[in-house]
């Protein structure tokens, strides 16, 4: 290869990202959300409206940012094997940090001291194996069923909250019950959205049998949320009842 040609190729497997507006815009969207949350909780004027705007800006920033990451991975080929290793490590570390977030809620519960249960880990595992084996139909079906069951879970949790005879302000149990199941419920909603993105990417041919890091991360996250639910179920619903 001549030197003049060599300069047209990247000599390393890493992804040097281009300048992006999303880190700074998302940071300020988070500032809007947290400031307005304080306003709302303390009864300041327009706190609720600004909180809604802050939430929409944060969610919008995330959607447009992730869209760019999908562009880089699927259309520009920036996610080499080396980059995939780094991303996988990042996802694993993120889930470890989530484990500790839930650990603190469990700590509060055990220190101080009703039930929808669905086996949704099975359908996503079926989808994952189908994807690896090149079975497009199975991957789509398994992911679709997972999303349906996930929505059912959130709906049942919603009914339970409406029907509960106590509130977040009733006793330590009420506080920790809604804090822990609410935190878990938020994670179920995020996990559902995560899998929904994977679903749309499967039907759009973005994912292959050997390159589907985003979907695999969603599955890992989903299993984490599933395991947290097992602990929550044993501690709060079974032992706590």
């Amino acid at each position: 290869m001549k030197n003049i040609n060599r300069t047209e190729f990247q000599a390393f497997p890493y992804h040097l990202v281009e300048p992006s507006p999303w880190p700074i815009l998302t940071s300020f969207a988070l500032l809007t959300m947290t400031t307005s949350a304080v306003m709302y909780f303390h009864g300041f004027a327009n706190g609720g409206e600004l909180l809604t705007l802050g939430f929409c800006l944060t969610a919008g920033g995330m959607i447009l940012w992730f869209r760019d990451v999908i562009t880089e991975g699927t259309y520009l080929g920036d996610h080499t094997s080396q980059v995939q290793k780094g991303l996988t490590l990042g996802v694993a570390l993120f889930i470890v940090s989530e484990v500790f977030a839930f650990l603190s809620v469990f700590w509060a519960y055990f220190h101080s001291s009703l039930a929808p249960t669905i086996e949704i880990g099975a359908t996503i595992t079926y989808a994952h194996h189908a994807l690896i084996q090149g079975n497009r139909y199975g991957a789509i079906l398994g992911t679709f069923l997972t999303i349906v069951l996930a929505i059912l879970f959130t709906a049942l949790q919603g009914f339970e909250y409406i029907e509960a005879p106590f509130t977040i302000a009733d006793s330590v149990f009420g506080t920790v019950f809604f804090a822990s199941t609410g935190l878990h419920g938020l994670h179920v909603i995020v996990g559902t959205l995560f899998i929904l993105v994977g679903f749309f990417r499967i039907i759009s041919y973005h994912l292959t049998d050997h390159h589907h890091l985003g979907f695999e991360s969603a599955i890992l996250y989903w299993h984490f949320v599933d395991v947290v639910w097992l602990f929550l179920f044993i501690a709060v619903y079974w032992w706590g009842s």
């Binding site: 281009e18 992006s20 307005s36 300041f44 447009l64 562009t71 259309y75």
Partner: protein, 64 residues
């Protein structure tokens, strides 16, 4: 389900289109300018709101 399984695969043509483009990545997907413009408009409202919020939080005024 069949319509989803046997959908057209547009990834190769999109890869060609995205790789030819010299625009920044955040302006490369379709309708990016519209999304960016809408986002920045709401973002500006949010920043004005946040600035006045912080002022009223410091002053402790619950109504404007």
């Amino acid at each position: 389900m069949d319509a989803l399984v046997h959908r057209d695969n547009k990834v190769p043509e999109r890869q060609r289109a995205y790789q030819v483009s010299t625009k920044p990545i955040y302006l490369r997907p379709p309708r990016s300018r519209l999304y960016m413009g809408t986002y920045l408009t709401f973002f500006a409202v949010g920043m004005v709101g946040t600035t006045t919020s912080i002022y009223s939080l410091i002053k402790g005024k619950k109504t404007e």
